[in-house]
Symmetry: C2
Subunit: 721 residues, 2 copies
């Protein structure tokens, strides 16, 4: 790719971005679109009225002016931690750029020795951009010292900012958990691997008597896990009919308004997809169904609570310190019975994973680790095919009808710049679902943990396949034998292939931020979906709300995406410092646009109080280490005898990671009793805390007492606090 | 070494053993020696009268008849666990021997192919013993299948017995900890890394307010660690004078009885070693000194308690569950402040290690790990020299005056058999002190843990230096280059050198059990020391008691010694099955003699409730893996193509270790709250529990109240339970 094609692609990206921003400004002013652009505000009961009338950059100013405190209030600690992550990376890249750009660019561009000495080496891709990179410096040149020191500078900046960020996030988590507000998960522990009861007791009785004996004063009651498959099915059916009834009633009411004052009673056919079968009056039909199903549900609820108890439970305590201490303590002498751990939030508890046994969980973990490893390595092959396929020459051959279009110079330039990247992005979009599914199979009891696990897998996938895959890409197959003989050569190979791919990744980063963030801000896709749904489907309030409900920030895919950018920018930071401003724009723009989205659009699905951070930290550090190792390889390729001076840097990174995880990590994996000890605002309503955990399919509005009776059995005798 | 020399050495060992046993029977009958042979009984107040009159094997019958329950009552859980260890190993070797001896010995001895085919290969050491070993089987012979299956048999027996033993020990620990008796360490936690107090508080006030805030109902009081160097010095001086005073008074009283009815008042000189300086009346002098030092001690105690507080403390709770849960919980969000862990027993707390900071402890651990590794490798060199030096030919050259003695055939045979082993044993005796000292430097807060750490180091030392060192020994230096080029060749090298050293290790094991256990039973050395001390030094009751006080079993050196034997016997079990009976005798005799010693002689210095077991387990497993790898190497040397069939065995061992440590280990490293929950026999006397931890130099008999006042300060206000 030459300079002009690069500039074209940049300009196109920028134009697309501007168009998207203008679209956002224009569309967000329309009152009909408010639910798409300000759903968070609406759900919190804040009126977004009048937001359309101000100047087009108001959103940006509002985002900049918002404080961390605002973000925590609106969107929770997890979101605030995500911004700490963005601003830390932004800080690393900005501090790196401030030193590296003014120092390294002149050093590279003034070295003319290489051009004259071995210009044939540059393989025809030599151009003005390459002149600004480390590739332009001659082998063994003493100028390389500047690059070596620059590598250390980037590392030191990273350590410093990561350390500050870890401390800051730790304090955020501490403040959030210390707050005197009542959070159900702070009063509960999750108990798994309950042994089979021996003396005719039910599971629940056993759990109750076990915990009452150990914690006579602080035990409140327990909620046994049950096999809810059957009851959930009935409940979902029932809920479906309820929704359909409301819908039918709405349609009937509307029909009254339009023509016929008596209205037309809606009808439908009972067969497949409403297309065949007997025609019935919808309102009556659904009503009957509901009346029919309700006692069935109640009966099934009783059966479930009594006979489908599973060897796992939630145990509630009367105070937070007792729960925090219990969640970290070994209960039975054998580790694989009565396993106790922190309870996840009610909304992120994955009930179906609870009964999985101790060693089965471990076996599952290993099996899934193997599957993921295989996936990572087998995905490499299609990616290789795609890169080969999406070059224009190949495309012309394979799809000749495109030829006239491709031959136009403007279109060709754009296509040449984007095609491989678009292929890559589409391809990557297919994976996250698979990884989430695999992570859930591991037996993890909380949704946030599942997403963290998936996110980790995705990170390794992207770094290995995208970064290393694309870089080493074509060269790899040819030199496979060589690698087999000497595994160390992969570093050298990576190092040699890096400079040639600098512009590819520059374009990749630019595409990501201009087009990616442009789409994010403008919300074109959700807007279109919302309007289509509204027009052709939504009849009731609830259906309309479902149509515009924004969902959450999507950690599981967003974070690994950002991580890939960090890895790319870090690895190129010294080799081609020109990439740094792109990285800065990516994270700066990301911060700004996502701040807007976090404050006004997305609604978090759960709150894990920053448990994502240690993973982000570890992966930034992993990127740094990859960068240091790559640089070590690249300096060796440059035949710089002082390259081993970089080795202490790698050791320092490991040491830094070790110290950090020793000092901070445990607080993120378990509750601290000090943090749980402050007095609460008001005495906790333990019954409400308990009810927060009862799955909806098991809680009945009508027969509250009956349900109570079935659920509590033993715990009745305890006085309620 | 030929067969006759081997038989001679065996016979000599056996004769020495018989002599020592007879000595024991004869000496233990004398009333004057009772304190040496039955100190444990005497200290427990049981009268050993009449024990001398029975038949010479009474002690053995008594040992066999004693139950595990007796051992726990007399000597504690740790000793019982040591016997579980001995009987498990005995079981492994016995079950291995039952199958291996009748199967493998005929298979080896009937293979005559090798003798004719390549007798030159056997290097002149070929004899009747070698005929019974695997070395006698031809390369690639299908008879090797028997050996391969034997290897698996030994592994499976080991897994089975280890699993049973781990379960059994876990139950022993559970029962001991569950007992309704009051144990101070179950009510306390150890707090380290207390942060510097900010608002003018003392350390102690800070600890008190911190824990009272978190555990308002269960916190009792705290005992702050202090810098006791000064106060200990004064206290020891004072105690020294008190002892000397008693001694002087006893001498004076005795002198009254003998000649002069007024007695001779003892005198001594105040200068160096009582040899120079002014002559004074001893009784008066010591009395004055005591009077002089007592107020000094009291003043220093006050200063210590108030001004020398250190950032560590013991915190006491009013019940065991609270302490157990607290000891496992994270307190402050930052892991390196307010570190809380299980409190060690009062008698094994190492006060001086408490104030060492979190990261300093970790750094110390790594530094000491490096030092120990260096020690292990540098000890190898002197061991090599010693083996070379102690051959008879060299000895004759170096010490020619020994020649006439050595030339006598009987003496030469004995010397030839023993000299290298004696050198080795003496050499090994020098090391444990060093390792204990190094382990203490790591900052470990309890004596039992220090001994475990030292024992672990000693194990690696003996296996690496003695077993591998002696085996590979001479060959190593010649083939060093080869190893450098291909590190895998060390396994092959080890495998090739094994058969040649079989008889050396047979003799080593025999020497260990006959002479080692003979000396152990007869207690010749302690007996002589006791009688010498009694005759020339002891004047008072206390001094006599010190002279016969037996000390404990000495885990730190005994266990690694046993481990070395296990490693040797396991590694040779298939190659030269004849070693198995020797192993069986070693552990059988050891069980019998140590049972006697545990019941009647030794007094345990501490009780860790079987925490030694996971270490023993891990090391038996390590020996097994070493054995499996060695066998893999040896089968390869035998050019047996099915050798890789052994690889799953190695993997299985690692898996077994992983499952065991997952299932059982946590209970050994931390308290289980279930175990702590049973109701106590009587309400705990918390004040007594607290006092059990006050170091003797800080507890005053006289001014109890004053001391109380100084110690408690804040905790005064708490009502005592």
């Amino acid at each position: 790719m030459d300079l002009s094609s690069f500039i074209t692609s940049l300009t196109t990206s920028f134009l697309i971005f501007i168009v998207l921003v203008l679209l956002f400004v224009w569309l967000s002013r329309k009152p009909a679109n408010r639910v798409v652009y300000y759903p968070n505000l609406i759900l919190r009961g804040v009126d977004p009225e009048g937001r359309g009338s101000r100047n087009p950059l108001t959103w940006a100013f509002e985002a900049i002016r918002s404080t961390e405190h605002d973000v925590i209030n609106v969107s929770g600690v997890d979101t605030a931690v995500y911004f700490v992550f963005l601003s830390t990376v932004l800080g690393i890249l900005a501090l790196a750029g401030i030193v590296l750009l003014p120092v390294l660019l002149p050093v590279s561009s003034t070295d003319n020795s290489k051009k004259t000495a071995n210009s044939t080496n540059s393989n025809g891709t030599f151009n003005d951009l390459d002149k600004l990179s480390m590739g332009n410096v001659a082998e063994k040149s003493s100028r390389l010292w500047a690059y070596l020191l620059a590598t250390y500078w980037v590392s030191l900046v990273t350590y410093y900012l990561l350390w500050r960020a870890y401390k800051h996030v730790s304090a955020l988590r501490e403040n959030a958990l210390m707050s005197p507000e009542i959070r159900p998960e702070q009063f509960a522990v999750l108990v798994r691997d309950v042994p089979r009861p021996t003396d005719g007791q039910t599971m629940k009785e056993q759990v109750d008597s076990y915990f009452r004996a150990i914690y006579p004063e602080t035990f409140y009651r327990s909620l046994i896990a049950t096999d809810n498959k059957e009851v959930n099915k009935i409940w979902e059916e029932l809920e479906g009919y309820r929704k359909k009834l409301v819908r039918a009633e709405t349609i009937y009411d509307e029909s009254k308004k339009t023509g016929n004052p008596d209205g037309t009673r809606p009808t439908h056919k009972t067969g497949f997809l409403g297309l065949v079968g007997k025609k019935v009056d919808s309102i009556e039909f659904y009503h009957e169904k509901i009346v029919e199903l309700t006692p069935k549900l109640e009966a099934e609820q009783k059966v479930t609570l009594k006979e489908k108890q599973q060897p796992a439970a939630l145990v509630f305590f009367t105070n937070r310190v007792a729960a925090a201490a219990a969640s970290q303590s070994l209960h039975a002498p054998l580790v694989d019975t009565w396993t106790v751990m922190c309870a996840p939030e009610p909304r992120q508890l994955t009930w179906t994973n609870l009964p999985i046994k101790f060693f089965e969980r471990q076996v599952r973990q290993y099996v899934i680790c193997i599957i993921v490893t295989l996936t990572i390595f087998f995905y490499m092959i299609p990616i290789g095919f795609i890169s080969a396929f999406t070059t224009l020459q190949n495309l012309k051959k394979l799809l000749p009808f495109l030829k006239p279009m491709i031959d136009q110079p403007e279109i060709r330039t754009v296509l040449e710049a984007y095609l491989p990247q678009i292929a890559l992005i589409v391809f990557l979009a297919l994976l996250p679902k698979l990884l989430l599914y695999l992570s859930k199979l591991e037996g993890i009891p909380s949704q946030s943990h599942i997403e963290r696990a998936a996110s980790g897998k995705y990170f390794y996938f992207t770094v290995l396949n995208v970064f290393i895959g694309v870089t080493v890409g074509g060269t790899l197959f040819g030199t496979f034998k060589e690698i087999e003989n000497d595994p160390n050569s992969i570093v050298a190979l990576l190092a040699t292939s890096l400079p040639g791919n600098a512009t590819f990744f520059l374009t990749f980063v630019a595409l990501q931020f201009f087009v990616g963030y442009g789409l994010e801000l403008s919300r074109i896709v959700p807007l279109i979906i919302f309007h289509l749904k509204k027009k052709y489907f939504c009849k009731t309030e609830a259906e309309a709300r479902d149509a515009w409900f924004p969902g959450d920030l999507g950690y599981a895919t967003r974070v690994p995406g950002d991580m890939l950018i960090i890895t790319i920018v870090l690895c190129y930071s010294v080799i081609a410092p020109l990439i740094i401003p792109f990285g800065v724009i990516y994270f700066g723009l990301g911060w700004l646009i996502l701040r807007n989205q976090a404050l006004k659009v997305y609604v978090p699905a759960y709150e894990s109080y920053g448990r994502m951070w240690p993973h982000m930290h570890a992966r930034i550090l992993a990127s740094l280490i990859l960068y240091q190792v790559t640089m070590l390889g690249y300096f060796s390729v440059k035949k710089f005898v002082y390259a081993p001076v970089l080795i202490p840097g790698v050791i320092l990174s490991f040491l830094f990671g070790y110290v950090c995880s020793n000092k901070f990590y445990r607080f993120f994996s378990s509750a601290s009793v000090e943090v749980a000890s402050p007095v609460l605002k008001e005495p906790p309503q333990l019954e409400l805390i308990f009810k927060a955990y009862v799955p909806p399919s098991l809680s009945l509005e009508k027969s509250e007492d009956e349900f109570e009776d079935a659920l509590s059995q033993v715990s009745r005798s305890v006085s309620l606090a």
